[in-house]
Amino acid sequence: MDVPWKKPGAKLPVLEGDKNMSKQTINFMLNSQKVSAQVESDSRLVDFLHEMGLTGTKLGCGEGDCGACTVIIDGQTANSCLVLAPQIDGKEVTTIEGLGSYEQLHPLQEAFIEEGAVQCGFCTPGMLLSAKALLDENSNPKREEIIRSISGNLCRCTGYTKIANAIEKVVRSKS
């Protein structure tokens, strides 16, 4: 969303959004639960998740560069800032909230804590989901494959080595 500029003498802009656009109903699986919801056609998945109270998905850039908003849709990672909420109708979505809980951490979450792979934490949910998508597809990835799998997730604290170590630790413990 741009902050609009206003120069002197310019005409008042035509207000957008005055037209009463229809909402639409979507049905999808969210973290293994059936969800039915009304969404605006122009709402982004990341915003819709926040509206639903799922704030673990982070918004960093809004253009698919940083990967902080990564979720898993039908088994594949996606930037939820580049997905419209109505697009997930009929799909299966996993967010960080579906990965583990205080009672039962996912092994990746455990490893991220143990290996010191968490710093400011803003990239962490996206990193974890990229790692999960990799391990779901390939239970024994090489180090290069691990690094490639998180290449769409920026960590501005530059903690990549420890993040890759954490993922590797889970791989090793499984094999």
Binding site: M1, V3, L54, G56, R156
Partner: protein, 421 residues
């Protein structure tokens, strides 16, 4: 040695559990009952006199709760980490693209954005200056009334003229380094609400105590009526030391009597936040024929942009570090903090040292070349060691690890590359 509970142990981060579960409440995740959303109208021009702001249409838009300009700031309307030269909201003069003009609190972000689009701003553009060397000239457009040279930090040691007169090797080069955005992955954000007569802020910041003082000063409140809570902060790297959303949201929470939230977009974050200072460095090195340093003569010009922020501190650090990790008997450094109409530069990882390192390391390589010795030899020859004296006259007694660092790096280079240099 006695075993300690924490020191020497691998300790779990206290906040790691919430972070891996996505449960951490960053400022932008906080929702409060009745919360309003804040947006900031910013200047599209770099240098202008602000003539008038007409907010009437924005104020009458349904869903808008407050539209505030500089006139609504109770007290000083200035903030700044070292010098209070930055307006909370511009009163009379715009000094950079992105300078804040109006803040709006509305029921939704969308309404707040529409309100911004209804605000009429009248301004008279002024010639702007974007190059720090240009800005230092007397005829340059003045960013601030006091002139564009905000401060000069000088270091003098020994006899520069004599050293250069007797030098076998003189290396003189100009360097320029670029502006750099911190790009912390969480854009600036904060919420503010009233708890009795205390305004409480949960904000993405590196500097809660400073924030508290600035908010209190601008809002004419005693310090104990402002409470700043640092929310989990998604990176800062120096860029979240300055004021961002704090004063706006405190002001609007009080004026609208509702909790408010302001989350910058990435674009706004880039536009409004501080940057790493771009530098012009004119570096002259004198050495004898063996490559032993005799003197340095350095002019550093730091473009601090429209406002000082940490400029004077950054340039001081640059002056002190101009010698690098080397012993130099004769030193002259002039470090200028210069205003321009560029984005404000402030603290950024390394705080003026990386820029100088870029220059002095190039100089060392060139000295080595001229002396016919290796880059490592020239560094070892001139390295600070225990009991060395720095450019500012400090005698380093212990903890000087430079030579050991070179040796380790040398061993590593040999291991990885199979050769050195």
């Amino acid at each position: 040695m006695q075993e300690l509970n924490v020191v020497g142990k691998s300790v779990r981060r206290k906040d790691a559990l919430d972070k891996v579960l996505g449960k951490s409440q960053y400022s932008g995740d906080i929702k409060l009952p009745g919360m309003l959303h804040v947006k900031v109208l910013r200047s599209p021009v770099a240098h202008a006199l602000l003539k008038n702001i007409d907010c009437r249409a924005a104020e009458s838009l349904p869903g808008v709760h407050a539209v505030l300009t500089a006139k609504d700031i109770p007290e000083s309307n200035t903030h700044g980490i070292i010098i209070k030269d930055e307006p909370v909201l511009v009163m009379d003069k715009i000094r950079k693209i992105g300078d804040p003009l109006v803040v709006v609190a509305a029921e939704t972000e969308e309404i707040a954005l529409r309100a911004l689009s209804l605000i009429e701003v009248e301004f008279e553009e002024l010639p702007a200056v974007f190059d720090p060397e240009e800005a230092m000239k007397p005829e340059a457009p003045k960013v601030h009334d006091g002139g564009n040279i905000q401060s000069i930090r000088k270091i003098r040691k020994g006899d520069i003229e004599a050293a250069f007169a007797h030098a076998d090797i003189v290396v003189e080069t100009s360097y320029r380094t670029q502006m750099q955005e911190h790009a912390y992955i969480e854009p600036e954000a904060g919420v503010a609400y009233l708890d009795g007569d205390v305004v409480v802020l949960r904000v993405s910041t590196q500097n809660p105590h400073f924030d508290c003082k600035e908010v209190a000063r601008n809002l004419a409140l005693p310090l104990n009526k402002v409470r700043i809570v640092q929310a989990p902060t998604g990176g800062g790297f120096g860029g979240k030391l300055d004021i961002s959303v704090q004063i706006y949201i405190a002001l609007l929470a009080i004026r609208a009597k509702r909790p408010v939230r302001l989350v910058y977009t990435r674009e706004e974050s880039m536009l409004a936040s501080t940057k790493r200072h771009p530098y012009v460095i004119k570096y002259k090195t004198a050495a004898d024929k063996n490559g032993k340093l005799m003197a340095i003569d350095v002019i550093v010009i730091g473009d601090t942009g429209a406002y000082a922020s940490y400029g004077p501190g950054t340039l001081t650090r640059s002056a002190v570090h101009a010698t690098g990790p080397y012993e130099v008997p004769n030193v002259r450094v002039d470090a200028y903090t210069v205003y321009t109409n560029n984005p404000t530069a402030g603290a950024c990882r390394g705080f003026g040292v990386p820029q100088l390192a870029f220059a002095h390391e190039q100089q060392m390589d060139m000295v080595a070349q001229r002396a016919g010795i290796s880059p490592i030899q020239v560094r070892l020859l001139n390295a600070l060691r225990p009991n060395s004296q720095t450019g500012t006259g400090q005698v380093l007694e212990t903890g000087v690890g430079f030579v050991e660092t070179i040796e380790v790096a040398q061993a590593k280079a040999l291991e990885v590359l199979g050769r050195i240099c």
